[in-house]
Amino acid sequence: MSKIFKQVQAHQLSKRYNIAAFPIKIEHFPEAPSRITFDSGVEIESTCLSCVNKYCINYTNEELKSIYFNDFPHDTNNNVCPINAIEWDINSDFPHIKSEICFSCGLCASRCPVGAIYLTKDTAIINTKNIDYIDNTDIKSHKAEIDKFQNATKTGKYLDESDVLFSLIYNKILETNANSQFPNLITRNLLIQLGLSTLIRRKGDVNLRMDGVFNARNNPKIKGVIEIEFGKDVLDSPRNILDNLAVLSSRHNYQYNDLIPLVVSFNLPNIRTEYWRVIKDISNVLNIKIQSFTIGTLMLLLWNQQYIDFSQHNFYVDCDNPSINSTLSNILNRKINLSNFEFSITAPNK
């Protein structure tokens, strides 16, 4: 009887849609379940298939790698939700979202292969209602069903941005008792979902100063370094970025001018701060173009199912024009509906 015992597997049953057709489209809607259109013309509400690979909960090891920075000592935390708001009880058929802490960032929703998670202004919701269209099946058929969705077009959006919505989300984040790695985790996960293989520094690693590195999954030329500051230390980010670039260039043989420097913050700094002028000074003297993001901006791109493509999009802003609205408008092909009155999401509010 000598052995290592195994943990009890969740008694969840694999599922598939009982529609004999191929899915061609998943359309997402704010505040409402998404809809799947099959090539037979049938259209149904998307429902959770209790994936064997828990896409909405964990990243795979492969997803937490970067081909350009394979030596980077990174945080291997594979949680999709940066505050652990999504969980799967061993006795439950479906995952569950803790709505009291979920703030609708959209990470779990964007990873659902069948679009079964939708967002409301308060929380993400896993749709488990449409069970008439679901059959239990073996794992092989379940995986084959999930594969069929790979080629389905994804349209629509998860949420419409507004001042009220960001006020709710940002205030909920501020009330969250998240640990100190939260800013790095949410940034990493949002960037991964936006098409960038991203690694972040391990919590407590005092020997490495840079917060993260990334490379574009689809364009081998695009790679960069990230500074993440959610507090007032964002004012130090430009000089921290220079430190990172110097270290990567001098010690690790990366060409600093091949690296895209990103600063990710909670709010954009006040326009009167020196941040914006220093960004311009660095551009003037070293021709390094530091790109500024907020997590709100990253969420906004995710809700609209966009990818960040640095070969086409430029998020460089400085004291002459500290707003990233025009870049966002170009990407989304529409006006951005934010006044930035309460939080500086896409432009400084003061």
Partner: protein, 569 residues
């Protein structure tokens, strides 16, 4: 008081790192801290001095192991893994480790590591045969904390935890009761609590700050296990708003389980009890609560349970983690029928010290010397206007040796604040003949703290007073770089690209810091020169200029890079 080391990383990483180490080292008959370090760096789980991968290890390995960062991280992990019962030390060699059968299961708890982790947290108990602790008090700390919270209406704060459940012998019921009474008596006056804390700190001869540090691990674990939430409360102590730990539903459930369970402690098992049965029942109950499927051995567990019923209530579960209480040899004997026989295969252990040798962090860094030359120096400042010159000349009347004056002046300013220190540095440089002034407070666009202005080669200066940082750190270097870029971009003072940007602090950088290397990195990447001067070096130059009529070549400063020292002729 029970002291926990701080893992220095979040608990998710801490568990994952264990699982990785287990998969890498499990085939060895034992492993050392060096083996752990090698695997941690190979798997990119640690860094050293800003380097990654093998280079990190190479840079970390030093003959003086107390200063070796990767080795120290491994040591800290090993210590906590021992406390949790996942590894144990070799009987004869404390720094040779083996994975326990419990550790094997923790490594295999990929689906739900938290459940078994919680069991191991509850399993921590003192004294035991594994960890040496000075105190002979019996304590199962996490059980005592949760039970105390339950008896304190669901709330406890950090300082209450220190004076209460972390400082008692929980097998003596009077101690437990008086700890609860003590906390209740403190409430609602925070001052009373502080008095108790101060009293304990004096009794143990440990600073309060250190006592607070010991609670970091328990507090983060309680939150990670979902047993508590944090709440800012102003009603429990009416004179102070404090962050309290509030018992969550999960914690309340555990507190009830603790009350109902049979708590087995080291050397407290009656002789008549079949120790093997006790180990097997407790270990497998622990695994079952940790989410493991043990149905296949249920019959034999039932038999063992039956043998224990003469001494213990058969309806209760056992709270006893054998590998956290007794030596591996003793526990393995009881579990011999279950532990896989081919677990250990001998392999050679590499000694990393031999592989990499000693590493000097300053090996290839630039240090620049400024030369003090004998010279009929004429002070460039009117003596009557410089307080500093007056002070030095006064001291010179009593002390002929310049070093004595330098020492006195150095100590005089050891607590100088920004205002005093920035102006002092500007004054010292002015004495040397530079046109230097400190930046007035509130001028945001002048980011530097002082400026040596020159018709062609102005030098921005970043200053750190001793109250800001005792030793210059990389922060100052980053700021010196930014100062240079701003100056070049905004043209507020004339300069050129090559002229140095200075950072001046009370002490030159700590030997472990990355300052010298960063200065080289900045030069290699951007071609910008950053120079660093410690206050003592600057005093050396200035005092000798005043008392020994020596002087420096003013041009020398602008061509420096790295840590600037002084050669005295």
């Amino acid at each position: 008081m029970i002291r926990f080391p701080n893992p220095g990383s979040d608990i998710d990483s801490f568990i994952r790192i264990f699982q990785i180490l287990h998969s890498e080292l499990n085939d060895k008959s034992y492993f050392t801290l060096d083996d752990m370090s090698e695997k941690l760096t190979n798997k990119n789980l640690v860094s050293s001095q800003g380097y990654m991968g093998e280079e990190a290890l190479k840079r970390s390995v030093r003959k003086d192991r107390s200063r070796d960062p990767v080795y120290n991280q491994s040591k800290m992990y090993a210590e906590l893994y021992r406390i949790l019962g996942w590894v144990q030390s070799d009987e004869n060699k404390r720094l040779n480790f083996v994975f326990t059968y419990l550790g094997d299961h923790m490594a295999n708890a990929q689906l739900d590591p938290l459940s078994l982790f919680k069991e191991c947290i509850l399993g921590i108990n003192y004294p035991n045969a594994i960890i040496d602790v000075k105190s002979d008090k019996y304590l199962r700390p996490f059980a005592a904390i949760l039970k105390s919270m339950y008896d304190l209406d669901g709330y406890i704060c950090r300082d209450e935890m220190i004076i209460g459940p972390l400082s008692i012998d929980d097998l003596i019921s009077e101690e437990y009761t008086s700890s609860i009474t003590k906390i209740k008596n403190c409430r609602p006056l925070h001052k009373k609590l502080m008095d108790e804390l101060t009293h304990l700190s004096e009794k143990l001869n440990i600073q309060i700050n250190t006592l607070w540090n010991y609670t970091r691990f328990p507090i983060s674990v309680l939150g990670y296990c979902g047993w508590i939430t944090k709440e800012r409360n102003k009603s429990i102590y009416t004179d102070k708003k404090l962050v309290f730990l509030k018992l969550a539903n999960g914690g309340e459930k555990i507190a009830r389980f603790i009350n109902d369970s049979i708590d087995i402690r080291y050397n407290k098992v009656p002789k008549e009890v079949d120790f093997g049965c006790l180990v097997r029942v407790s270990f497998f109950q622990m695994l079952a609560r940790g989410g493991f499927e043990i149905d296949s051995i249920q019959n034999s567990i039932e038999k063992d349970l039956y043998k224990l019923q003469n001494h213990y209530d058969e309806s209760s579960e056992y709270l006893f983690s054998p590998y956290q209480t007794y030596k591996i040899k003793t526990v393995n004997e009881a579990l011999a029928n279950y532990i896989p026989k081919n677990k250990y295969v001998n392999t050679t252990i590499t000694n990393l010290l031999e592989k990499y040798g000693d590493y000097s962090s300053n090996g290839k860094n630039t240090n620049y010397f400024i030369t003090l030359n004998p010279h009929e120096s004429i002070l460039k400042i009117d003596n009557s206007r410089s307080e500093f010159v007056k002070q030095v000349l006064n001291l010179h009347k009593s002390y002929a040796i310049s070093n004595e004056i330098i020492n006195r002046m150095y100590h005089k300013y050891k607590e100088a604040n920004k205002d005093v220190f920035y102006n002092l540095i500007a004054e010292l440089l002015t004495i040397l003949g530079y046109d230097c002034s400190a930046t007035r407070y509130g001028i945001n666009y002048e980011r530097w703290d002082a400026m040596i202005s020159d018709p062609s080669y102005s030098i921005p200066i970043e200053i750190k007073s001793p109250t800001e940082e005792e030793y210059l750190s990389v922060k100052a270097i980053r700021q010196a770089l930014e100062n240079k870029i701003i100056l070049l971009s905004r043209n507020l003072y004339p300069t050129d690209y090559k002229t140095v940007s200075l950072a001046i602090g009370y002490n030159s950088p700590n030997y472990r810091s990355d300052v010298s290397q960063l200065i080289e990195d900045i030069y290699n990447a951007f071609g910008i020169n950053i120079g660093v001067i410690g206050f003592r070096t600057l005093l050396n130059i200035v005092v000798k200029t005043i008392t020994e009529k020596k002087s420096i070549n003013l041009e020398d400063l602008r061509n420096t890079r790295g840590i600037i020292n002084v050669k005295d002729f």
